[in-house]
């Protein structure tokens, strides 16, 4: 059958040439467009390393000095802190709340702002994301960050007695900078802009986390923050008890928050669930748009390809029906004819795909495949996306399957008519 398929294709090489050219072009274009989609979908589906379900973020604000109800007496730092603790207590005592933790620096998981620092051990140097937490405020357990075996637990890490230069790090940080060593108690350092070397002691190690959606698990260091700078950048992280529905909580909590969460000049402005916060982050940094735009463009090309295949095969229906009639009269079954026509599509598609892929490979070898442009992602992950070979083969396979399915659908529709032809009708003109 394969010989016949190849003979058929060759004898119609002029017509099939256009289709082949289109297939090659679509293969390359689909490759270029699908690569970021595959990488981004892969990366956004990786485990977060913390528990974003039942997690909420409350944004606080304080009245401007010329706002109504502004209390001059409550504007000093001590009053602000007192008022903030009053609000924290109210939140912690709200029905359904399991724990709550203040976030006083705008560098938290999926925050708009961010902070980073390069750390060194001996000659090894790596960049890390920096997160800040106030000790004694249930930070780690509220986020649902897990400590690795051998490290103090999340609860212990939240309330430990930290020195100014103690930090908590993620597993990948410990493994990258201190391979094969027990990281707890070890020192790492960085050189600040004046040239001074500052040493930090590792007080705990937690599991890897994806600090920002769209990034893979970057190296993260958690720094104790001892100041109570209550102001515009004040947020409260809230975890609900298991079994509380999000919709129910938001419906009840929002009106309560507007009415009750105010003390002095401080008030709660808004509350957002963490999954929504992550979605907003992905949208803002273009991840969602890139996936949507690329998906729309791929669908456009695939519809075109499908139309092209249907057109090419359907317009040959009459001629092919005569052939099919002869084959039927010699005992071929409709199934055989259908398989033969689909086989033509398969050969054409595979040939075009191999040519397209080889072409694209030349480009990829020179320019590299799609990767996230973050200086944080230099750590070699051991997943298939990070290695050139498996990345190329994986995406190629996905593209091949998509194109093959589209081509076979395109052929199936006219092929059904051709294969079911009655030999007598088809051969009437012969």
């Amino acid at each position: 059958m394969w010989k016949l398929i190849i003979n058929n294709l060759w004898s119609r090489r002029k017509r099939n040439g256009w289709l082949l050219a289109e297939l090659i072009l679509v293969s390359v274009v689909t490759w270029v467009i699908m690569d970021p989609v595959v990488v981004l979908l892969h990366d956004t589906s990786l485990p977060l390393g913390y528990d974003a379900d039942r997690l909420y973020l409350i944004e606080m604000a304080s009245l401007d000095s010329h706002a109504q109800g502004y209390d001059e007496q409550a504007s000093d730092s001590a009053s602000r802190t007192d008022n903030f603790f009053r609000l924290m207590n109210k939140i912690r005592n709200y029905p359904g709340v399991e724990s709550a933790s203040p976030l006083l620096v705008a560098s938290y998981l999926n925050s708009q702002g961010n902070s980073s620092r390069g750390f060194q051990v001996d000659s090894l140097s790596l960049f890390t994301r920096v997160m800040y937490f106030n000790p004694g405020q249930h930070y780690f357990e509220t986020y649902g960050i897990k400590a690795i075996p051998g490290s103090p637990s999340a609860e212990e890490l939240s309330k430990a007695d930290y020195g100014e230069h103690d930090i908590v790090v993620t597993r990948n940080f410990a493994e990258s900078l201190l391979p094969g060593k027990q990281a707890i108690g070890q020192q790492v350092f960085y050189v600040d802009y004046t040239g001074d070397t500052i040493y930090y002691r590792i007080a705990g190690v937690v599991e890897n986390i994806r600090a920002y959606s769209g990034e893979r698990a970057s190296l993260v260091t958690f720094w104790p923050h001892f100041r109570w700078n209550i102001g515009e950048q004040t947020r409260v992280l809230v975890r609900l008890k298991p079994g509380i529905s999000s919709g129910h909580f938001m419906n009840e909590f929002r009106p309560w928050m507007v009415k009750e969460l105010r003390a002095g000049n401080l008030f709660a402005r808004s509350v957002i669930s963490y999954p929504q916060l992550i979605k907003n982050y992905e949208y803002q940094w273009g991840t969602s748009n890139k996936i949507r735009l690329n998906a729309a463009v791929v669908i456009f090309f695939l519809i075109n390809l499908c139309l092209g295949v249907i057109g090419t095969f359907w317009l040959q229906t009459r001629k092919r029906s005569e052939e099919a009639g002869i084959m039927r009269s010699f005992g071929a079954t409709p199934g055989y004819i259908m398989r033969m026509l689909l086989g033509e599509g398969f050969v054409l598609c595979t040939l075009a795909f191999v040519m397209g892929c080889l072409g694209y490979l030349q480009y990829a070898l020179k320019e590299g495949l799609y990767g996230i442009n973050s200086f944080m992602s230099r750590i070699a992950d051991d997943d298939w996306i990070s290695s050139f070979e498996t990345h190329f083969l994986g995406v190629s396979l996905i593209v091949y399957i998509i194109i093959l399915v589209v081509v076979l659908i395109g052929i199936y529709l006219p092929a059904r008519n051709i294969s079911r032809v009655n030999p007598v009708d088809a051969l009437r003109d012969e």
Partner: protein, 433 residues
């Protein structure tokens, strides 16, 4: 002659329903995709309410200061000092307006019913803003120069926000709470669309009402701040003169400085500024490669499709062409005939594509346009993106739609038709069984 072609094309269209359907759908899809991209860009640069003066508007966004000793640099926008002492005093311009956009400040309205705060988009600006951007006032007028000078919270409000807050647009003189401060409505305007981002806001207030509007920001350089500046000029010549005046000011300033150097990327005419990101110079090649490449691929793939179909059809029509040739028709005439017939199909596809594009743009107005931005700027809560008549039905849209049809037709029909018409008469006539 054209009438004959049209008649014949119509007959062929009816005879080969499948071919026509595939052809029109393929073309329609290609044109729809191209037109979506075109309209998204058209909205960025064309004169659209209230930014109808875009051709006469020059914009200064990015300001950089280079520190000669440390070789470092800081980048931001104009400071209040630059706005007050330099830009308001420019000679080669009709009107100057500054918009204050401090980083990280969000504005909320506190509704009377004690519900949750409503987040609103506010533009802090000056009265000249309403001379540059031609808002239609439904009631009263902009806040006055006196309001501006004394920093009074007299606001111009968009009609949809007025309806949301008060249930009517007849709201001049009414007050509401913005960030817990009393705010009085001075005028009501027809809403600007979220897509015309320079003028879009739900509320317009004098920037002098913001505490710290005249601060040197965060102790940084006194040239850098949060102001975007718009200049309205008479014509291109005055625009160039304005640029020269600005350059001269900068040159004089830099000549007097030993430690630092002021670098302005602008002012740019509006359409150029729409494509400039931050302080990076415009990379035309990158833009052309990105968008031109996309449009080319949008057209090339369907063109290959259509090429295949047309070449199959030309084979079927060879006997007909042979007869025409036998009666004296030359190749050029037959080529014109085939191209015209195909153009009719392409134009029908174009019409379908245009309708499809309009449907996509209207139905997906809250997200389609943001697809083309590098970073998603989401439509604020409670705001419905306005897609107006002048955005979708401009003559430019039709002209470009037709040009794309012509291009697609040439790309897809010329080569197969030319190849088929090269066959000699005897061969052509022999194809008839």
């Amino acid at each position: 002659m054209i009438r004959l072609y049209l008649k014949q094309a119509w007959e062929l269209l009816k005879q080969n329903k499948l071919f026509s359907m595939l052809y029109i759908t393929g073309t329609g899809l290609a044109i729809a995709m191209t037109m979506v991209v075109f309209v998204a860009h058209y909205i960025k640069v064309a004169p659209i309410y209230p930014e109808t003066n875009r051709a006469q508007t020059w914009v200064l966004k990015s300001v950089s200061v280079q520190y000669l000793k440390t070789k470092g640099n800081s980048n931001w926008q104009s400071s209040y000092k630059l706005v007050r002492d330099w830009w308001y005093a420019m000679q080669e311009t009709e009107t100057v307006s500054a918009v204050y956009q401090p980083w990280g400040i969000e504005d909320f309205i506190q509704p009377d019913n004690m519900g949750a705060d409503i987040k609103v988009e506010v533009k802090y600006t000056d009265p000249a803003f309403f001379q540059i951007f031609q808002f239609k006032f439904l009631d009263e007028k902009p806040f006055s120069q006196a309001d501006f000078d004394s920093g009074i919270m007299n606001a111009v409000i968009g009609e949809s926000l007025a309806r949301r807050l008060f249930g009517t647009t007849d709201v001049v003189g009414k007050t509401f709470n913005l960030n817990y401060t009393d705010c009085r409505v001075a005028g009501v305007v027809k809403d600007a669309s979220f897509l015309t981002s320079s003028s879009f806001a739900q509320l317009y207030l004098p920037y002098t009402s913001v505490t710290g509007y005249d601060n040197v920001n965060g102790g940084n350089d006194d040239l850098l701040g949060s102001y975007i500046v718009y200049f309205k000029v008479k014509d291109d010549a005055q625009g160039m003169a304005l640029k020269a005046e600005v350059d001269e000011l900068v040159r004089k300033y830099n000549a007097s400085q030993e430690e630092k150097k002021l670098v302005l990327l602008g002012p740019d005419i509006f359409w150029k500024s729409a494509y400039r990101h931050g302080n990076a110079p415009l990379d035309w090649w990158e833009l052309i490669r990105q968008w031109g490449g996309l449009v080319l691929i949008f057209l090339l793939v369907p063109a290959l499709n259509l090429c295949g179909m047309i070449s199959t059809r030309m084979e079927k029509r060879l006997p007909e062409m042979g007869i025409c040739k036998a009666f004296g028709a030359n190749r050029g005439r037959l080529l014109r005939q085939v191209l015209t017939e195909n153009l009719i199909l392409t134009c029908l596809g174009g019409l379908l594509g245009l309708c499809l594009a309009w449907i996509v743009l209207i139905a997906g107005r809250n997200w389609v346009f943001t697809l083309f931005e590098r970073y998603g700027d989401s439509v604020p809560e409670g705001v419905d993106t306005i897609v107006s008549f002048d955005m979708l039905f401009s003559p430019w849209v039709f002209m470009v739609g037709f040009a794309v049809c012509l291009l697609l037709n040439m790309l897809s029909a010329l080569w197969p038709a030319w190849k088929a018409l090269r066959k000699n008469i005897v061969y052509s006539l022999n194809q008839k069984k």
